[in-house]
Every structure is written in structure tokens, then in C-alpha cells.
Symmetry: C2
Subunit: 247 residues, 2 copies
DNA sequence: CGTCACTTTGAACATCTTCAAAGCACGTGG
DNA sequence: CCACGTGCTTTGAAGATGTTCAAAGTGACG
């Protein structure tokens, strides 16, 4: 909203689809080389700055997005309520398919949490691919189901877990994705978003997040310095993400 | 879990698919008479008692369910957490499609909240119909997207609205579905579930639900007697479902 | 190198949970 | 048809968890 279109991307940061992390990790991996070439020819890539909007709730949607590098989040804003970040999307994942099914425009927003390179595929081209390749449609449908599952799980955790457990869960998930483990249990990672974003993701307030992280730090569960977090014992953090309730 | 298979259903309660409320309100309405006849021949119907399980998280799933009459709820249980009722299903709606996409078994449970008549369609037969009728697949996919939307909305409301607003929202939704309005604004309705179920749906405790309803009653927003609720001014209740936050 | 947004701190307060116990209601079996 | 019991509902009191508001730091980015 507040940002302007950024400069065209240098060749390095926008890989050909065949070399993209996307290739193996996402729904596209059912496509053969020839079809991938079609995809590569039809897509367009852009860099996004931290915080920049990829699409906005309410606007017409013209295609889907595929993250080449970086991290994005899907945010949902209900009338007269603060935004909730309902889902993260990492390199190799696609964004926006569910909104294409009904042609009503975006019913959520997405923004880059970090500097990111993101490709877009026009809906007309996607539809052509979906028709030609039956398996691709199944992949996207599975994606839909996975999103539903994940959102239901988030609902359950929000309902019954305190902020501290939800935070532990988030950090464990991030650590498993990008953490570098120096020992057996010691892990260091870089949080790919601001505290504000983390709060929106955990459905709490920045103040509470700060205090919760401090509490965890003083309990020796983690050491945080800006966006860097060190976890002396990942197992202990994993326990925190479940613990609390016994009843 | 605690209940036994109930008696076979009398003819009245299990309508032929062509006469079913399902016919117009659900995904089936893209089917022609001939295909509906196929569906009617292949389905099987059963009555469920209040609280009876329709399917259970973890077990293999063999088909989908379609509610002829009554009310059911889909419940999700995360490891070591209480159950959350993530979704209601009313007459004419189908249940379980999303779980059929991945063949992993049910990843949620469903139970009848009221005495209900529910038909089941085997997955083999459903697949045959889906292949023959392209439009049907689209309908089910739209259903998937609608569920995702609804769950995301529930997440936002759970995150930012107090119990009282969430309760108001639920009652308004039920009133709009089955309420009988005697005047312009006066509405009477019957809650199709126990307080326990309502609490699980609103992600709160039965105690809190009781107290919240009493508070609303003493504020004159509603009058409740068992499962019957009278709403003097539906508009006022609608406001409550949004109000609270201005910030 | 300045600006603006993000982050942190403190204190008061609201909301909701927890535990324990009593009342009630419904369906089951006699 | 009535008695009985199990699970649902209600009440009360105490305490935990998280929010709100305001204001002072801090840091990142252009």
C-alpha cells in the first residue's frame, strides 16, 4: 500500500523455472521439461521489499504467485478487526490459488516479510496448464486441502494454547526449516520477519510478544538478539509447544 | 464412540435424492435427473442420535456424507488439546470431501448434534460421478475454498473478539437460518445443540458460556429457556457480533 | 544522517479459565 | 410409567493470562 513498484530484477535473482527451488518442492514438479519451459516463458518475476504488498484483499486477482526466494505471509482482515496473518509461504510455495477458484477478487492480502523474489503466472496461462495436465489440478487441490488442515490446526492452537506455546511452535517450525544446528541440539536461526509480523501471526500484541520472549530467555529456553535466535535445546522448546494443559 | 448402531430408518425420514433438500442447496444440483437417480440408487441412509459419531479422526474414510435433515459438526482434535468444533453442517450440506483428497483417513471427526438423517456415498461411486460430470468436481472444489474462507474468518474472530461477540455471531447465524420472525425484528429460534457443543464451537468453557448468556439476558439482548432463544431485537444482536474494538 | 516505524517498558484493568460442588434433565431400563 | 443414573448445566471464588494506553528507546532504510 505504502510502497512503489521496485526496480526490475537482475538476472541472478530470477532463475529460470527449471533451476528454481520451486521445481522440486511445489505443485509444478508434476510438469515435464517442455511444460516447464512454457511456464518459464509465460511467468514474470519481481523483487519485493520487506513489507511490500503482493496482492490486496478486495482487488481483482489476475493470477497466482510463486515464491522464488524469501518469505511471504497471507493476511486476512475481517471488517472492523485487526489483520491476522493466517499462513506463511516460503521459497518454492505458491500463493493465491484458492482465490482464483471463485472469481470475486482477492479475499486475503499477501505481503513479503523479507526482501523476496516472486514470480507471477497469469490465470489464463495457468488454466491452460491445468487443462493440459490433469495431475497439476490434483496438486493444487491437495494444496487447498493442506491449507485447510493447517488453518484448522492453527484454530485449535489459538483456542487452547497460551502465547508462549504458540510462539514456541512457530520458532520450532522456523528452526526446522532454516536453522543451522552446530551441535546435536543447539540451533541458530534468523527470524524472517519483524516482531510486529510475528505478533500478527500468533494473534497477540507486540507488547505481549516482547514480554513472552523475555520470559523464555530468562528461563534459558532461547537467546534472542534482534532477528537472531539461539536455541540451546531444541527438544525443550518442542516440549513447550505442546505442554501447558494436561487436562 | 459410546453409541451403538441405531435402527434402520423408516421411509419418511430418508427421502429419495430427487426430493431431498440436498437437491437444490448442495453441490449435487449440477446433476441431471438421470445422474441423480444413479446417486439415489448408490447411497445409503441412516439416522443418528444426538451426539452420535458419523466418522472419527484417524479411521479410514470410505466416502462422503450428505445431511438429509438435522445438524452435524466437524471437530478437530490436536494432540493433547481439547477438541474444537471447526464447522457446522446443516441439511443439504456434504461432509468429508476434503478428507477424501488425501487418502490418509479422516483428519477430523464429525458428529450429529441433533437427531439427524444422513446419507453416505461411497468414494468409488463419487469418483465415477466426478469423472462423468466435470461441473461436479468444480462444485466440490468451491466447497473446499468456502470451508477455507470460513475457517480463516473463524480464526480472525477467535483472535480478536471476546466470547460475547462470538456468541452473538453464532446466534445471529442460526437465527438467519432457522429463526421464525414474529414481528419485524423479534425472532425465536431453537438452538440445535447442547451448551457443551456451543462452547466447543466458540472455543470457550461451558461455564463462560453460561455466564455470558446470562449477561446478555440481563442486558435484554435475548431471553433463553433451555434450547429456545427469543431475540427482541435482532439488529442489536448483530451489532454485538461486530462491536467491541474500535481501534 | 534523519525519519519513521518498530520495539520495549510500566502499570492498571478486563476477560476468561480453573476447580469444586450442587442442581437438573434426559434417556434407559425396570 | 416411574425410578435411576450419567452427563450436562449452573454457581461461586480465586487466579492466570493477555490487553490497553502512554511514552521512551532503538534501529533500519532510503
Amino acid at each position: 500500500m505504502a510502497h512503489v513498484i521496485s526496480a526490475p530484477i537482475p538476472g541472478v535473482s530470477a532463475p529460470h523455472c527449471l533451476d528454481c527451488p520451486t521445481r522440486r518442492s511445489a505443485e509444478w514438479n508434476v510438469l515435464g521439461d517442455e511444460e516447464m519451459a512454457h511456464l518459464a516463458a509465460g511467468k514474470s518475476a519481481r523483487t519485493y521489499r520487506k513489507g511490500e504488498l503482493i496482492f490486496a484483499q478486495g482487488q481483482p486477482c489476475l493470477g497466482i504467485y510463486c515464491i522464488a526466494s524469501g518469505t511471504a505471509a497471507v493476511g486476512r482482515t475481517e471488517p472492523s478487526l485487526p489483520t491476522v496473518l493466517v499462513r506463511l509461504a516460503h521459497a518454492g510455495q505458491t500463493l493465491g490459488y484458492s482465490h482464483l477458484v471463485l472469481t470475486d477478487g482477492w479475499r486475503a492480502s499477501a505481503k513479503a516479510l523479507e526482501p523476496s523474489v516472486i514470480c507471477s503466472v497469469e490465470s489464463s496461462q495457468l488454466e491452460r496448464l491445468l487443462k493440459r495436465h490433469q495431475g497439476l489440478a490434483q496438486r493444487f487441490q491437495a494444496h487447498l486441502v493442506a491449507d485447510l488442515e493447517q488453518t484448522e490446526a492453527a484454530l485449535a492452537h489459538l483456542a487452547w494454547q497460551p502465547v508462549r506455546s504458540r510462539l514456541a511452535r512457530l520458532i520450532v517450525a522456523l528452526a526446522e526449516r532454516t536453522g543451522s544446528s552446530n551441535g546435536q541440539n543447539f540451533v541458530r536461526l534468523k527470524l524472517p520477519m519483524t516482531r510486529r509480523d510475528m505478533a500478527d501471526l500468533l494473534c497477540t500484541r507486540p507488547e505481549t510478544l516482547t514480554r513472552t520472549m523475555q520470559a523464555m530467555e530468562s528461563d534459558g529456553v532461547l537467546i534472542s538478539a534482534g532477528h537472531r535466535v539461539d536455541i540451546p535445546d531444541l527438544g525443550r522448546l518442542r516440549q513447550e509447544s505442546v505442554a501447558t494443559h494436561l487436562h
